[in-house]
Amino acid sequence: MLDSIFNQNYFEIFSLDVSTDPDLSQLNEKNRELQQQVHPDRFASGTDAEKREAMQKTSLVNEAFNTLKNPVSRLQYMLSLKGVDISAETDTTMDGAFLMEQMEFREEIADVRSQANPLDVLDTMTADVKNKSADLKNSFADYYQQDDLDKAREVVRKLQFLNKAQKEINQIVEQLEDELI
């Protein structure tokens, strides 16, 4: 059943068009629908081969779902559909101004505890990251459409930086909240 998913790209698996902004409720809905068909629980009294197949198919659906759910991995995946491997270490060209800005931003994050209301500052930073990410996502969509994959890739790398910064922000927020308890 559903052998076709092995030959489909992640968007096709969920009957979605390739897009930076797929319909997330359809993604969720379709995911549940597929899981109903392939999940190992459906084959608990099946043969070993059926069980193994169910596990492989569900693993694939899960991987596809996770990739599309996360905005950055989604764009990264879109690039891979065009044969661009973002994780390859070959590209070193990076917008110098952006890197400088990021370094300063990281320093600000690291020094946030010296601020009067660090949690407020961190909230502002989070909003800032969100806005910047949204802008980048839009520009990715444009470059992707124009088939300017080098530019598109640079956008994704920038998003990865922002993602990391956000993780650092979250960590400090958690630490500060723990101290408040």
Partner: protein
């Protein structure tokens, strides 16, 4: 179909149409078994009408007592009577003594010394591991199921804390195997509770299940929709529960009574714990409780424990659980306001203080109207019934996640995450490795579970040896290792050398033996030490890198240095080599090391290029050109990246 089945227990009218399956809640303190009969799920009582089986086993020279009978003898025969075996599952001896540091720094048991990584407790009935103790409890529950149903069992769903790691899950499955039970599924306890609660209430939306049992704590955030239970995130502490409340009270008693804590016998310790537990339970009804402890014939202590004091004692423990709640919300990307219901599960949620603090945290009135002891077994029975095939048209589907990240050890004792925590399961991920010495034909892979950057701070799960792949020059082999996590949350590994297509053999050595700093504290520490980790990580990465470069240079020079290099060239390389070697051991920051490596790469670039050419010519000698699909040949890679090899992941995510 369910309506047609009007049958008394033990007299099923249609044994061949209905397959019997049971759900077992194998708890730290108490265990239960439940099944679905006539469309209704319920727990099964023993011949005395008792549903709850205390998870206590007494090993006598010629017999084994399980349940209440064993529990009664606990104080008099503490050495041979094992309780809370669940807390020992999948753990090594050092971890356990670390974990039970209360009351005179000892467990009431004596461990026998063996070379096995599984600790065994000395009893009158022989040496027993926690797996065997659990198996003896499971046997009783299985028998109860068979006697009540009067039929052979198809199998069982056994619940485990969501936060159990791979070793603890495997130990549970092993116990079931020992008890002769066909495990249909290992089911996470909060998920089981959600099934029972969700089907009963018809709730749809996002709920939180707060499950505080005798020895474990879980929090799961999940989405309920049309019979589909989708876990969005899970968190917890596999060593936090009501037992810890008892220990906190017991410690308080010992302190108040001013007796010498180190001089207490195992039986007295048990007595104090029993009184502490009783006092805790009474305080749910009363404002204060009087405690009397008869330490020995001459020494008696009398004291009063009030709710206020109790709260002071247990608040730090409850707050620990709330930290896990906050992280779980964040991981699920869910705000508190979105939570429809907070469902309370586990005997320890009877504590008024727990209810109060959890309610404050979620800014909602927690749901306490379900029986916190039985709900997990009932949910397990519902799933067991579906898995046995009695619910062919049903929509019930449970989608769960991996509770703790799985990773591997990379050079220098660092962790590389392969599958992140809260990834939906089943999940699989392939990772490519390469060799780092010429002619290497075997490789060791060390698998760990946890969130920290350094390997020693994570939990060691197993070591794999991959053997039998063909020899290549360093960095040319491509070994693809596939990690598969199944629906029980258990990991398996397979490996293949991609260039030759040779299947490598995988030899697994499970290791439960590392020191335990508890999973929760691992997670917490991973936040505290994030900065420190990062500096240590980048320096260690560079050191590994340097070792690799040194190793590559040495082996190359030994092999063909004299053929391919002039004396002058060779001296220049050797000079750069000794500079790098010195920095490798003395450098305190990564930049110094990086500079030295850049230098040696520049000096040896020409040499590396010559070697590569020679290697390509040698490989191709005697073959037709068509045999080489050059697009895939590693030889075409840039020579300098070859020397570096194995790029690390710092920028990947």
């Amino acid at each position: 179909m369910a309506l047609l089945q009007i049958a008394e227990p033990g007299q099923s009218t249609k044994p061949h149409e209905h397959k019997f399956a049971i759900g077992i809640d194998l708890g730290t303190t108490n265990s239960l078994v439940a099944t679905v009969r006539s469309g209704k799920a319920d727990t099964l009582p023993d011949e005395n009408g008792q549903h709850i089986l205390p998870s206590v086993v007494q090993y006598l020279a010629d017999s084994i007592l399980v349940g209440s009978a064993a529990k009664q003898n606990q104080v008099e025969d503490s050495q041979n009577t094992i309780s809370s075996a669940k807390r020992l599952m999948g753990r090594g001896v050092e971890e356990l003594t670390e974990q039970f540091k209360s009351l005179g720094d000892t467990l009431p048991y004596e461990f026998s010394v063996t070379d096995s990584s599984v600790p065994r407790i000395k009893t009158a009935g022989g040496d027993k591991s926690a797996i065997e103790v659990s198996a003896d409890i499971l046997k009783v529950l299985k028998q109860r199921g068979e006697q009540t149903l009067g039929d052979k069992l198809e199998g069982a769903v056994i619940t485990v804390p969501a936060y159990f790691d791979d070793a603890q899950r495997q130990a549970t499955k092993d116990a079931a195997t020992l008890a002769g039970i066909n495990v249909l599924r290992l089911l996470n306890e909060p998920t089981a509770a959600a099934v029972a609660y969700g089907l009963d209430s018809g709730a749809e939306g996002v709920i939180a299940v707060y499950d505080l049992g005798g020895g474990t704590f879980d929090i799961s955030i999940m989405q309920l929709k049309k019979g589909v239970f989708e876990v969005l995130s899970t968190g917890g502490d596999s060593a936090l529960g009501g037992d810890d409340f008892d220990h906190a009270i017991a410690d308080w008693i010992v302190k108040q009574s001013a007796v010498d804590a180190t001089g207490l016998s195992a039986n007295t310790q048990r007595l104090i714990l029993r009184e502490a537990c009783a006092a805790k339970e009474k305080l749910s009804e009363n404002e204060q409780v009087e405690i009397t402890i008869q330490f020995d014939k001459t020494q008696t202590w009398f004291g009063v424990l009030t709710r206020d004091i109790l709260n002071q004692l247990i608040d730090p423990l409850i707050k620990k659980s709330l930290m896990s709640c906050r992280r779980a919300l964040r991981d699920a990307n869910v705000e508190k306001e979105q939570i429809l219901d907070v469902v309370m599960v586990g005997g320890s949620t009877r504590s008024l203080r727990v209810r109060e603090l959890v309610g404050e945290f979620f800014e909602a009135q927690p749901k306490v109207d379900i029986d916190p002891d039985r709900v997990v077994a009932i949910g397990a029975a519902i799933q067991a019934n579906a898995l046995a095939g009695n619910d062919p048209d049903g929509n019930l589907l449970l989608m769960d996640v991996l509770p703790l990240s799985l990773g591997i050890e990379t050079m220098g004792g660092l962790t590389e995450k392969i599958i992140a925590r809260n990834t939906p399961i089943p999940a699989s991920r392939a990772q490519d490795f390469t060799t780092y010495k010429d002619g290497q034909t075997a490789m060791a892979v060390h698998i760990v579970q946890g969130e920290r950057e350094l390997i020693e701070d994570c939990r060691s799960l197993a070591k794999f040896e991959l053997r039998g792949f063909p020899a290549h020059v360093a960095g040319a082999a491509r070994i693809r290792v596939t990690f598969q996590v199944d629906a029980d949350g258990l990991l398996s590994v397979s490996a293949k050398e991609e260039v030759s297509g040779v299947e490598a053999s995988v030899e697994v050595k499970p290791s439960y033996g590392l020191k335990d700093s508890e999973i929760e504290s691992m997670l917490k520490a991973s936040m505290e030490y994030a900065g420190e980790d990062k500096d240590a990580r980048s320096l260690r990465e560079q050191q590994v890198e340097a070792d690799r470069v040194l190793e590559a240079i040495d082996s190359a020079l030994a092999e063909d240095g004299d053929e391919m290099l002039s004396g002058e060239e060779k001296d220049a390389i050797l000079k750069a080599r000794s500079e790098l070697a010195a920095k490798r051991h003395n450098a305190t920051d990564t930049q110094q090391l990086k500079d030295a490596m850049v230098h040696i790469e520049q000096v040896s670039a020409e040499y590396v290029a010559r070697r590569m050419n020679a290697s390509v010519q040698k490989t191709m000698a005697g073959h037709k050109v068509e045999e080489f699909d050059t697009s895939d040949q590693p030889q075409k890679e840039n020579c300098l990246t070859k020397l570096k090899s194995n790029p690390k992941t710092e920028e990947k995510t």
